[in-house]
Symmetry: C2
Subunit: 361 residues, 2 copies
């Protein structure tokens, strides 16, 4: 949580999408810009798996956010025009209720007693916040990666609740290649003896498992082409090599990235969100994806993808755009030219400025 | 080892490519067909990481081998014409000396006391065998995946020792994407507490680490496209699902494959061979890959690859073919049409028959 984090509390019992219940729910969010008089300029943004609601700097917190190049006065998501709300997902560990939150009865973290969560649960919590703000219809709902899944969940659970839909490097449902990679990340955490069936000490958790999970994630978030240019076969000298490990520069890079992540992200939050991404299917309540859009959305959609994305391949964004059009909406599909793979929206975010600006103009 | 395994012993001290020494060395191999009178029909075949020398059935062992569809009387590698020799790599655990072999002083497995090995060590051991058989020049040297690296090592260490060179789904040097994936497989084994710094019981080794290593391997040996067709998003029912695991069919498939592998392959053998693949660079003794071929090979080469191969991408085989041509040889490059990724040479081996037959005709 940052000084800019706001918390929206649901104090009633919350029924979850997969059948569980929570005695109440906190939703962490940040905002930029001002809601206009007729409350028609709200843009709702969801995040990728590992991000907080801090998408951009503000007066309350001037540290750069995860989408700093995109959000701000005069930027592609123009905070002079839009009231931008970014939501930390339910199940995460940056202010919203999740398995790392204290259980109300014991004060101890929920961990594996937390009920199964779904993309729809974040969507529903955000919808309650939107209603509480008196917003009848969003100007736009959008998100990259997991955030795109939640944006889809928002519309499927709350038909016609947004004028525009922005889907970036995301999918209506993961294919088995992505399922296998995420399952293996979870296995790394679950089989680390320090995981202790979820009863780990907060400051001495399953680091070895988290390290491997994050490395595997990172490997699939980037592209072979980028790494060939960036690292080649250079040996690393910045840290001590170990037997069978840390000989090449690419290994040291992953080690550093993974170490940084371990200190930030709760292992159980990772397990719950990862599983929720696997289970998500935008058309699970409809005969088809097209039927879902027919029922829920006929506005202007922007669908962006990156050809070097291994995890959310371009054909998935193409399929989304086709289904939106077939459902009566209007989708603008664009393949962003970047060798940064799935993470392009983060590390090559400038390449996303023009299409987003045009879509929101 | 199978009833058909032959062992070629080097009883002198063997100096290894990376500076280590072995007090002697066993090389496991199998053969098919007959060496002709002028000893000009020998074809030397090296294997992928996890294979034994049992590439095809024979009178001595009629169980199918790993390249059964390719090798045999009248097949693409025609054992009526060629004397085919398949070599189990040094460092492996199917008869050739490796970290799982008994240390001569203690009778206990070498494990982490085994010296670092290289692709060149298998090539050199195979060359001693070839010389012992009185073969002056091979009709062909070839191999898929790691076996292609060893075939390159053979030529680079023994210039002009083969008339033909066959390279299948292989590379002159791995790129950082492959390095990162192999390093992570090794990390899974090394961080499993049951690895015990290599002092594991033979029947109670680092199974959890090996399971993850093999799954990660399998994920990168196949393709997203194949799995989308084969598994889709179907839930599995063949084994008990566990929290956060084994919900989808693709997960059960990987679990079954990994379990099978754990019982067959020694963890230290995996570490040593995996590292040797990372370290291999066909041009490490020359100014360039072209210069290596100029120095070592001017024959007819066949270079095959598969567009869906993530780990040994097609551009690597294209680069090999270009370097062979530039070095004065003649390379026939072909992209095999298969969605089976790196494993296509094994699971779609019929697609490789025609180009191999034509090359050897």
């Amino acid at each position: 949580m940052t000084p800019a984090t706001q918390i929206y509390e649901t104090t009633d019992v919350v029924s979850l999408y997969r059948g569980g219940r929570l005695p109440g729910l906190s939703l962490a969010w940040e905002s930029w810009g001002k809601l206009n008089a007729d409350r028609s300029n709200a843009l709702l943004l969801f995040t990728g798996l590992s991000a907080s609601a801090h998408a951009a700097a503000s007066d309350r917190d001037n540290s750069p956010g995860w989408w700093e190049a995109i959000i701000g006065p005069g930027r592609a998501i123009d905070t002079d025009r839009y009231f931008v709300m970014c939501i930390n997902a339910v199940g995460s560990c940056f202010g919203s209720t999740g398995p790392a939150s204290p259980h109300p009865n014991t004060g101890q973290p929920w961990r594996l007693d937390f009920p199964e969560i779904a993309m729809e649960d974040t969507a529903n919590a955000a919808h309650r916040l939107v209603e509480a703000l008196g917003i009848e219809r969003l100007a736009a709902v959008m998100g990259p990666s997991m955030g795109g899944m939640i944006a889809l969940a928002y519309l499927k659970s709350h038909p016609h609740s947004a004028q525009r839909l922005g889907l970036i490097s995301t999918t209506a449902a993961s294919e088995p290649f992505a399922l296998a990679l995420r399952a293996l990340q979870r296995e790394a955490i679950l089989t680390d003896p320090q995981f202790q069936a979820g009863q780990y000490d907060t400051d001495r958790g399953p680091d070895a498992g988290m390290r491997m999970a994050r490395k595997l994630g990172m490997i699939t978030y980037r592209s072979a082409e980028e790494w060939a240019e960036r690292f080649g076969r250079r040996h690393q000298t910045q840290m001590k090599a170990r037997p069978f490990r840390l000989r090449f520069e690419v290994e040291a890079y992953l080690e550093t990235q993974a170490e940084r992540f371990i200190g930030q992200f709760d292992p159980c939050a990772y397990l719950y969100l990862s599983q929720a991404m696997d289970a998500f299917d935008a058309s699970d309540q409809d005969a088809s994806l097209e039927a879902m859009f027919t029922r829920c959305f006929q506005g202007d959609a922007l669908v962006l993808g990156v050809a070097s994305d291994l995890l959310f391949p371009l054909k998935q964004q193409r399929a989304l755009a086709l289904a939106i059009d077939a459902g009566g909406g209007h989708a603008q599909f664009e393949a962003i030219n970047s060798n940064k793979g799935h993470d392009a929206f983060l590390v090559d975010s400038k390449a996303f400025q023009t299409p987003i600006r045009r879509w929101l103009a």
